[in-house]
Symmetry: C2
Subunit: 330 residues, 2 copies
């Protein structure tokens, strides 16, 4: 996927629908040269409003459809704008469930103008099953008590810090927002289940012995819908270092009122046991807490309490930064 | 999928290629009314050799392509036979990787003659993510130390015994051979990984409180390629009863010389912990050992040793039968 991006917001009706775009703009401001909105769009990712022609003048290579619609649908009235972009020379990338290539006019335009379409929710290519064979390079994986607790945010914050220290590091995306942010990666939850760990072996392959892959986590071993994805991801990543991510105010697993959030200690034990199948030296190197919903005093007290319980650096990437996690990589 | 079946063996060059057919004939002899072979076929599943016309006269409804080719390919020179079958009124079911519907002549014939094509390796339909919500009915799941250790054979043997006792029971297929044997089911390793446990919830849905679903197992929590599938299957099945399957002469995980076979006790602990996420009452009710490669004395000694170690009925489905597993369901 070529950068920079022009962000297509269509005419979505609220800011939450632009969550993916917000993430890309937050982590890769230099790649985002403007936003292209249709009349009546209610979202705003605070970039200059540009036409397709203006975006091209400023160097944009890819039109990114980084919005979510109910059901992941691609509205028919967006087709003209997408075809226009292809004709002008943009590649187009989408995180929607509906495939760009399934719309005949879009597929035809991409072929005619020799442009690329990226449907990041629909991994393509030949995959292999995992092997578990040890490979060189260091890998750090974020795991969590639940979904949406910081398993993308934490490694991205660490990557930024590690780059500023001159360390060899790559963020490895396993979900759609991460793929737009890193320009590559595979949405592992969209891969046929036979290939989960094989795909992850491919995403973070053999590397220099002092290079760190920071692998975006998915789901939770304790989530009854997504634990299979999480386990395959752990086995494929062969992590040397694990970071536990957690949101302390959650009273149950996301979207499942009957399902309790696991205890941190038990959660760590299970993740460690799983990781040691393919890397017997795996260990936790820190804990990342999202305290956004706590006041400052409560957050500080909670971080201190967890740090003392587990004797591991315990941070909130937003409130305290992640330097102490990076310090503890070895 | 309608029964009875006419088994299509094509012109495969060895008996191993007909392993799926062998399984169907073993478990469902009444459904298999003959075999249809092309010249130079080297496999034989010991059914009457019938032409397509003769199969139809004897009542066959579905032509089953239950053979494996290198790469799961559908040879082009089989197309005429398949089209002929559709024209005569057969549905056609295939376990090959290549889809029947991807061959234009086959797709056209199915449409023209209004016949159904079943590609059992390619699940179709709308799937949902799992919920983990408790549902009525009893479920027994086979888990294992490795692949190919009896996780289909054991529940099929139990189903036979339970039917003979007049119990309410259904075998629930999760792999291609099992699907042909039961006439339905979904190959869970071929489902997009987001939906593993959701699909399993669908395969073994709510049922009478005294009805047992016997769920075919897949992979192993200790297999670095397939553990994700196994975990999603465990969570979706919500098993009341677990059976551990094991092959004692194996020195490493199948196909992975570097990967040791797990210790039985540790394997059971991990499977039980996983099962209790969605069914806190899950327990092991027995152990099923494949002793085919051991002599009679060694096999007896091994079964006794395992039985004493775990205080659970320990059987070989072939050597001793599975009655003691059924006795221990409650």
């Amino acid at each position: 996927m070529q950068q920079p991006y022009l962000m297509f917001l269509g005419d979505v009706q609220d800011q939450l629908a632009a969550k993916t775009c917000d993430g890309i703009v937050h982590w890769r401001p230099d790649w985002c040269i403007g936003q292209f909105r249709l009349p009546d769009c209610k979202a705003d990712v605070r970039l200059s409003d540009l036409t397709l022609a203006e975006g091209l003048e400023r160097g944009a290579k890819t039109l990114v459809i980084g919005v979510a619609n109910p059901g992941g649908r691609l509205p028919r009235h967006w087709t003209d704008s997408i075809v226009d972009a292809l004709q002008r020379g943009y590649d187009v990338a989408s995180g929607l469930h509906d495939k760009l290539s399934a719309v005949p006019q879009i597929a035809a335009a991409a072929k005619k103008y020799n442009r690329q379409l990226f449907d990041v929710r629909h991994p393509s290519g030949q995959f292999s099953t995992g092997t578990g064979v040890k490979r060189p390079g260091k890998r750090c994986l974020a795991v969590g008590t639940d979904c949406s607790v910081g398993k993308m945010y934490t490694p991205l914050a660490m990557e930024k810090e590690m780059l500023s220290r001159g360390m060899k590091v790559s963020f490895r995306a396993t979900g759609q927002t991460g793929i737009f942010i890193s320009g590559k990666g595979i949405a592992v939850d969209a891969v046929v289940s036979d290939f989960i760990s094989g795909v992850v072996e491919k995403i973070c392959p053999a590397n220099d012995s002092n290079h760190w892959d920071l692998v975006e986590g998915q789901g939770s071993l304790f989530h009854p819908a997504f634990a299979g994805v999480t386990l395959g991801l752990i086995h494929g990543a062969q992590p040397d270092a694990l970071i536990l991510c957690h949101e302390p105010t959650r009273t149950h697993m996301r979207g499942l009122p009957h399902q309790p959030v696991p205890d941190l200690k038990i959660c760590m034990e299970h993740n460690l046991a799983a990781a040691r199948l393919t890397n017997p030296d795996a260990k936790f190197i820190g804990i990342s807490i999202n305290t956004a919903r706590m006041d400052s005093a409560d957050a500080d007290a909670y971080l201190t309490e967890v740090e003392q319980q587990f004797d591991l650096p315990t941070v909130d990437p937003v409130r305290t930064g992640v330097n102490r996690l990076v310090d503890n990589l070895s």
